[in-house]
Symmetry: C2
Subunit: 127 residues, 2 copies
Amino acid sequence: MGKRKTKQRDAIRAAFMAAERPLTSAEAHVLVQAEIPSLGIATIYRAIKDLLEEGWLVSMSIAGTTRYELADLGHHHHFHCNQCDKTFDIEGCVEDLASLVPKAFKILKHELTFIGMCQSCNGEMTS
Amino acid sequence: MGKRKTKQRDAIRAAFMAAERPLTSAEAHVLVQAEIPSLGIATIYRAIKDLLEEGWLVSMSIAGTTRYELADLGHHHHFHCNQCDKTFDIEGCVEDLASLVPKAFKILKHELTFIGMCQSCNGEMTS
DNA sequence: ATCGGTGCAAAGGGTTTGCAGGGTA
DNA sequence: TACCCTGCAAACCCTTTGCACCGAT
């Protein structure tokens, strides 16, 4: 009844560990197919669902798409590039964010996302 | 060749003005149908598309769904309730957010969203 | 009388589910 | 061997598009 170890799920976990940034289901699929070309998108979705439930991944909604990354990265935030549509991790946070919210609202977490152009795309524009 | 004034688009604009919070396309549809029951969802989507292009609405991606609100509300942020799935506006912001981002990244804007339980739902839980 | 907007239904794109076969334990 | 996982295809849901009709100008 426990989870079984399969090469598909190993490859999916490996893709998220290697990515070092949040991945969409489609991005994960492409990365994993480099290892296992026959792997179907349904397997990606089912694995992500299980990994979310067991707390190994967390999800976020950025730029109209759900993205997933390792749950144990610690508190951080994100930068989304409109040019290449990739999302990157940003270290650090700021104080007193919670003070913005009325006390009657119960805060579970917050998400801070910067939108703009990433280092790579910005460099290409100005070169 | 300009935009025409129709009762459907008037009702759609009125719904966003009255809502005082971001609405999903489905929420807007329900609200507008109270006024014009025959109004179809495609009309909502087409009107939103035009209103975004003319800068009257802005869109955001929260909790897996695209939401829209008036563009002229000034800088503010959002609170999303996991219980009722509604998103609310939060006044204010904090300083020095941009300092978190590496200088090579070009910031266009930022989005800050608190996730938790809103006043109404929180009250129902504890009563 | 134009021609943009609307309503309906079909088409698209992304995500989920049913099912038979394959692989782990 | 038992049964979870996979791959494929169908089903779903949300959004977009085609088309004929309606209605604002």
